[in-house]
Structures are given as structure tokens and as C-alpha cells.
């Protein structure tokens, strides 16, 4: 926990330094990011990283590999819902330990852009929770691929590499060329990270952003449900 917090803060400083250098080279503003917005973007991003848990544990896949998943499957629950509940619980804890500290750090030590209206705070919270749900749904799909692949570490690694770049963690999605930005907003990736940051900064259309997140949360959870159903019906459980 402490280690996670420290890592978030240290990497946050690195990112601030790099983006600040980029801003200087671009005469103080790139897209709609000035220095305060950039700092805010970095520190919220660092906080969200642990909260939405972009890079999960691949635990379900490990349990499929070992065959322990039989225990999860014979319980009288909907496995995906149970895991979502667990992840929301984790999010509650991560809110205090991972989301808040980097933001406080950023507020205290760097120029920070607060929301223009106080109504943005609750909307930011809603957006962050939706981001967590979309992130869970994506991780669940990556995890569930193990039912077919048995060893999904390749896909898991691919997800870890691409998601950070495409969701707006490495650089804001608005730094991408126009066509790439448009394409990206057709995918669920911005819903993972860029969306709550945009809501906080007041960039773009808040309602549109939230609807984008809601759509992907529902669609991906639905896909996960179908995948799980199919997995249970056709797939071989490993071992004795």
C-alpha cells in the first residue's frame, strides 16, 4: 500500500517533468493543456491508476490454469458479479489509499486546476467509478480468455502495454492527431482514464463522456457475461 503510494508519487513527478518540458517546447500549451491542467492531469491520472486498477492480477486466469476455478464455479453465485463486487470493495479502499494521496500531493506542491463548478466533483466521482467498472470488465475479458488459451500471459501482457498508451495515461488523448483521437473515442480505452480526467478539468462535453463510459461499462460487462456462460458450457476444467 505504502509502496504503491510512493511509486505513484515518484512516477507522477517524472511525468510532470517530461510533460512540462514538452509544454515549454510548445510555447506553454498543447491542445487544451496549459501547465496547471497538465499537472492536474498527471496527479489525477496517478491516483486513478491504483483506483481503476488498469493492470490487475490475472487471478481468475491463474485459477483456470490450476483448475481451482471449479471451486468458484460451483458456488451459488454469478461469478462475474461476485468478482465485480469484490473489485468495487477494493476500489473503496483504493480511493483512500491510492486516489486521494497523489491528488493531495499535486494540490500542495504544483499549480493545480480545480473544477470550475462544484458540480464537477460528484460527476468526477461518478466518472471514476464508471472507469473502474469498465476497467474491471476489460480485465475480466482478458482473464476469461484463459478458459480457451489456458495460458493467457501473452494477451495479458499485450493488454498491459496497450491500455496505458491508449487510455490517456501516457499522454492525454487530445495530444494524438485528430483522426487517431476520433478513432480512440470509438473504443472503450478513453473510458478507463481520460474520461474522469476530462470531467474534472471540464474538457469536452461531460454528458457525452459519461454516456460513453456507461455504454462501454454495460457492453463489456454483457460481453463478459456471455463469455463466461460459454466458457462454462464448453470448457474443460483442468486436472484431477
Amino acid at each position: 500500500m505504502l509502496a504503491g503510494m510512493t511509486a505513484n508519487v515518484v512516477f507522477g513527478m517524472l511525468r510532470v517533468a517530461i510533460l512540462a518540458a514538452a509544454l515549454e517546447a510548445a510555447d506553454g500549451e498543447i491542445a487544451d493543456y496549459d501547465i496547471a491542467a497538465t499537472n492536474t492531469y498527471v496527479w489525477i491520472g496517478q491516483g486513478l491508476l491504483g483506483f481503476v486498477l488498469l493492470w490487475g492480477t490475472n487471478e481468475l486466469a491463474e485459477r483456470v490454469r490450476s483448475g481451482d476455478v471449479v471451486v468458484d464455479l460451483y458456488r451459488p453465485w454469478h461469478l462475474q458479479s461476485a468478482m465485480l463486487a469484490q473489485d468495487l470493495g477494493r476500489g473503496g479502499f483504493a480511493f483512500l489509499t491510492r486516489l486521494a494521496p497523489p491528488m493531495v500531493f499535486g494540490v500542495l506542491l504544483f499549480p493545480f486546476q480545480f473544477p470550475a463548478s462544484s458540480a464537477q466533483w460528484p460527476l468526477f466521482l461518478v466518472s471514476a467509478v464508471l472507469a473502474l467498472v469498465v476497467s474491471f470488465a476489460c480485465r475480466f475479458l482478458v482473464d476469461a480468455s484463459a478458459f480457451w488459451l489456458l495460458d493467457n500471459r501473452g494477451l495479458y501482457g499485450f493488454w498491459n502495454v496497450t491500455s496505458g498508451l491508449l487510455c490517456g495515461l501516457t499522454v492525454p488523448v487530445s495530444f494524438f492527431p485528430g483522426w487517431a483521437r476520433d478513432v480512440l473515442w470509438l473504443t472503450p480505452f478513453p473510458a478507463l482514464m481520460q474520461a474522469p480526467i476530462d470531467v474534472f478539468l471540464g474538457h469536452g462535453d461531460v454528458t457525452g463522456v459519461l454516456l460513453h463510459q456507461l455504454f462501454w461499462a454495460v457492453a463489456l460487462l454483457g460481453a463478459g457475461h456471455l463469455v463466461l456462460q460459454r466458457a462454462v458450457r464448453k470448457v474443460v476444467v483442468q486436472g484431477g
Partner: protein
């Protein structure tokens, strides 16, 4: 409780050689038929790969049968898996349903919520299990720190908190020492007789069967080889019994009509006489033996359950060979 008719399950196994990928179909369960009535205790035995675990996975709804008819407690397991899960308990000897990092007590509390057990019932059942299984000391210990014996007792408690009608145990005594095994068997026998919980257990430890299960089913290569009371199977498959006599002085074996095989040990001090139980009684044989030689000690040996099962396999092999 359980109704199984012509149950089959095939698997496609990939057989890769170099770049070529092929599949072959393996039949793990091949036309199994049996019934288990409520309140019975049935032992399900067979060598590794016989199809035991595959059958159990189908009974619990985790695996879908390739064909055949299957009902557990009146429902189709794979279609109504969640309804069924509320009514049955499953213990896998080699897997854990407890939360590794949590104390036993917390795992039980979580299961209470998952199975929605009323608080009062939960208290009564938990107290009963804790007392009979001697878990008082371990309730607050994280599961990862429990010994195997303690963990298995925890697993069984976990499977009984929702008072299942059927308890399926897949090798529950694997890896346990003799005392822990005995304690577990005693507890299961008690649950079976007092609560009327139906038991179905697979095992490699035949003492489990002898102690717990009036009925035995033997399976191999996905087929049921035998099904019936242990005593009957024993009489049917191994009609011979053995009389072991220790003589006072070394000497030749007594010559008794009805004895089909004789084996001597210890330079003629001990003789094993095999006789068919249908033709001679032990009493008749002993009378005749005592008349001929001076006996120091004697014992009548029933065939071991291992022998019974080995003979069943052998019989099946012979039948297959003749076909």
C-alpha cells in the same frame, strides 16, 4: 437423489507433433448408469483416470455431459447449477474453498452470506461442526497457516454450513495421517446417519469405504464394473477365503479335502490354506486340521478390499479380451 442414465463425456485432446496439430477424442465417462437414494453413503472408486472426477464434475454441474440423462435432487445440474449449488456441498481434497489469507471464521462468515444461511441456523451448524471436529483452537488462524488436517476439517465444515442434502467428497482423506482420517470418517458417518445427508465419495483409501460406505461402485475406463454392498462384491469376486495356521513344530501342511491351494512360510511353521466358502465352512476345516496337526494359532482371513477391486479389474480385462 441422484439419477444417472447412460452418461457419457468425451474430451478432445490435442496431439501435437511438430507443426501438425491433431485432435483425438477420449471418452472419460462411457455410458454410466446408477441411482443413489437419499440418505445413502456410496463409495465411488477406481484407478487414476477412471472417470471419477469427471463424473463428479458433471454431477455438480461444472461440466456438461456429452450425452445421457442426469438428475441430481430432481434438477439438471448444468442447467440449474446455481439452484443446485445451494442444495449440495462439495469438498475437493486437492482444492480449497476457503480464503487463503483469512481466518477460518471469516471464511465461514463469507460463505454464510454467499449461501444466505439464516443467522440462527448458521450458529447452530457451525457450533456443532466446531465441537465435533475440534476446531475451537483454529477458528482465528489464517487458512494458510493451518495444517492439512485442520484445513480439511475446515473444508468439510464449510461445505456443511448450508445443510446440503448431498455431500460430494472427492478424495477427502488424501494426505491425512491415520488419526485425522479416522476423525473425519467418524464425523462423516455421524452426519450421514443423524442428519440423513447423502454421501458420495471418491477415494483411493479403501478404509474410507470399509468404514463409511455400505455401498461401493467401482469404475474403470469410464464404465461401472461393479455396484453393490461391499460384502456381496467380496463374496462374488473372491469366493475363496484363507485359513492361516501356525504349527507348534515345523511340518508339512495338513491334507484336507476342500482346500484348493496351500502356501507355506517360515520353514513349515506357518501354512496358508485357501478354501471356497461355498463348499466348506471355516469351522469344518478347522476341526479337520486340528485332528491332523498340533496347532499353535490360527486365523481366518477375509480378502482385502484391494484384492476385491483388483479382481474386478482383472475380470473386466478378461471379458474385454474374449470379445
Amino acid at each position: 437423489m441422484i439419477e444417472v442414465r447412460e452418461l457419457r463425456r468425451e474430451f478432445r485432446i490435442a496431439t501435437s507433433k511438430g507443426l501438425r496439430r491433431n485432435h483425438k477424442t477420449v471418452t472419460a465417462v462411457d455410458g454410466v448408469t446408477f441411482d443413489v437414494r437419499a440418505g445413502e453413503a456410496v463409495g465411488y472408486v477406481g484407478p487414476n483416470g477412471a472417470g471419477k472426477s469427471t463424473t463428479i464434475k458433471m454431477l455438480t454441474g461444472i461440466l456438461v455431459p456429452t450425452s445421457g440423462h442426469l438428475r441430481v435432487g430432481g434438477v439438471d445440474p448444468s442447467r440449474q447449477r446455481r439452484d443446485l449449488a445451494r442444495r449440495i456441498g462439495v469438498v475437493f481434497g486437492q482444492r480449497s474453498q476457503l480464503w487463503w489469507d483469512l481466518p477460518l471464521q471469516d471464511s465461514f462468515d463469507l460463505l454464510r452470506s454467499i449461501y444466505r444461511v439464516p443467522a440462527q441456523d448458521y450458529r447452530t451448524r457451525l457450533d456443532e461442526c466446531v465441537e465435533l471436529l475440534g476446531l475451537q483452537e483454529t477458528l482465528l488462524t489464517p487458512v494458510r497457516q493451518l495444517s492439512l488436517g485442520q484445513r480439511m476439517r475446515g473444508e468439510i465444515t464449510a461445505a456443511l454450513l448450508h445443510a446440503p442434502e448431498l455431500l460430494v467428497l472427492d478424495e477427502p482423506t488424501i494426505g491425512l495421517d491415520l488419526e485425522s482420517k479416522e476423525r473425519l470418517r467418524e464425523f462423516l458417518a455421524d452426519i450421514n446417519t443423524r442428519r440423513g445427508t447423502t454421501l458420495l465419495l471418491t477415494t483411493h483409501d479403501l478404509d474410507d469405504i470399509e468404514r463409511l460406505c455400505p455401498r461401493l461402485m467401482v469404475i474403470d475406463h469410464g464404465r461401472v464394473l461393479a455396484d453393490g454392498p461391499l460384502d456381496e462384491l467380496r463374496a462374488e469376486v473372491t469366493p475363496e477365503r484363507e485359513l492361516v495356521i501356525d504349527l507348534r513344530e515345523p511340518g508339512p501342511a495338513p491334507d484336507v479335502p476342500g482346500v484348493t491351494a496351500v502356501r507355506s512360510e517360515a520353514g513349515g511353521l506357518r501354512h496358508h490354506l485357501t478354501f471356497r466358502r461355498a463348499e466348506t465352512t471355516a469351522a469344518q476345516l478347522i476341526t479337520q486340521v486340528v485332528r491332523q496337526v498340533e496347532v499353535h494359532d490360527l486365523a481366518v482371513v477375509e480378502p482385502e478390499i484391494d484384492d476385491v477391486i483388483r479382481k474386478l479389474y482383472q475380470r473386466q480385462l478378461d471379458q474385454d479380451a474374449h470379445r
